[in-house]
């Protein structure tokens, strides 16, 4: 059987020195793939807007999304540093709390450790209000 080789995620950029830095840093982590997805979106939008520099990117990241924001920032900055338009771009991350709504008492309450149990009626809730967000809101650019 000949396996289909999909290659490392970051090989999409076809940048050998980038690959070397990342494998040196042993970054085979969740946040790297997320950072690559952000990079792809921003790189494409920056080109559409004829941006000469992207100054900042604002994200909304839910508390329950499992993202370590320091790692995400680290991975994104490393990827961005190899692109002249994105180098130095700041990631601004708004954290959204993990919240649920109780069907019985209609109150919103914070979900602790993924257990959506209403502190008032002790019943489980199916209605997660927030906390799973992984969104790019906007970017701030300089354009020619």
């Amino acid at each position: 059987m000949r396996p289909i080789e999909q290659g490392r995620l970051f090989l999409r950029s076809q940048n050998r020195s980038l690959e070397a830095s990342l494998s040196e840093a042993k970054l085979e982590m969740h946040e790297l793939a997320i950072a690559q997805s952000i990079f792809d979106v921003i790189e494409a939008r920056a080109a559409e807007c004829h941006a000469t520099q992207v100054k900042g990117v604002r994200l909304r990241v839910g508390e329950a999304s499992g993202i370590v924001t320091d790692s995400l920032t680290f991975c994104f900055e490393m990827l961005a540093s190899f692109d002249p338009v994105l180098a130095g771009t700041q990631l601004l991350i708004d954290i959204v709390p993990h919240q649920a709504r109780c069907r019985h008492c209609a109150k919103e309450f914070p979900v602790k450790n993924f257990i959506a149990q209403c502190p008032t009626c002790e019943k489980w809730s199916d209605e997660i209000v927030s906390g799973n967000e992984l969104q790019i809101l906007e970017m701030e650019i300089e354009a020619s």
Binding site: E5, V41, R45, C49, A64, G66, L134, Q135, L137
Partner: protein, 224 residues
Amino acid sequence: MPKVTIAQNILAANETIAQEIQRSLAARGICTINVMSSPGAGKTTLLERTIARLSGRLSIGVIEGDIETSADAERIEATGAETVQINTKGACHLEAHMIRDALEHIELNRINLLVIENIGNLVCPSAWNLGEDIRVVVMSTTDGDDKPAKYPQMFAASQVMIVNKLDLLPYVDFDLVKAKQQALAINPHLQIFEMSCRTGEGLDAWCDWLVAFARGNGLVPGEA
């Protein structure tokens, strides 16, 4: 300095491909499950035993995800199932575009159930939709009973939990009641199967459920 509104899900590109996959498989009447676990919990053995037991009842195609080697795909191929191996070369999870490519190597008109065996990892795969109808998380008695509490995203995002290696229960400090309680506290809708793929204990209940699932066009049996 101009601000440009983007308002886009970070994983939107993956999500779009996953939805295309789900639509095209559903149109062919194929149900799809995405099987995830920590390394060594027994995903491949589960698939071998499941395929053998369902021979004649379901035609199963398998996409095997591994960082390196085609060892698992060779094991699955030996069962006679349509099999494709994806080697991610370091990436810790499968993404939808990999599944789209792999599907070109499967005779889709020969199967009615597609099983995707994800990379052994309880963190990353949970974030990436592959176009599956349901997600199955496998944990084993040698993993430790604290896995649901430690990796809650995975258990929150799954519909089925399998506890494997039940035959080893007398030899390990694994509290089955605690593991199930933790998992159900995170996800009260989890359908739980306890089994030993080695001895075959508990496999029939899972296989019957899977047949009901595949014949119900991807609806979770027992749910309206």
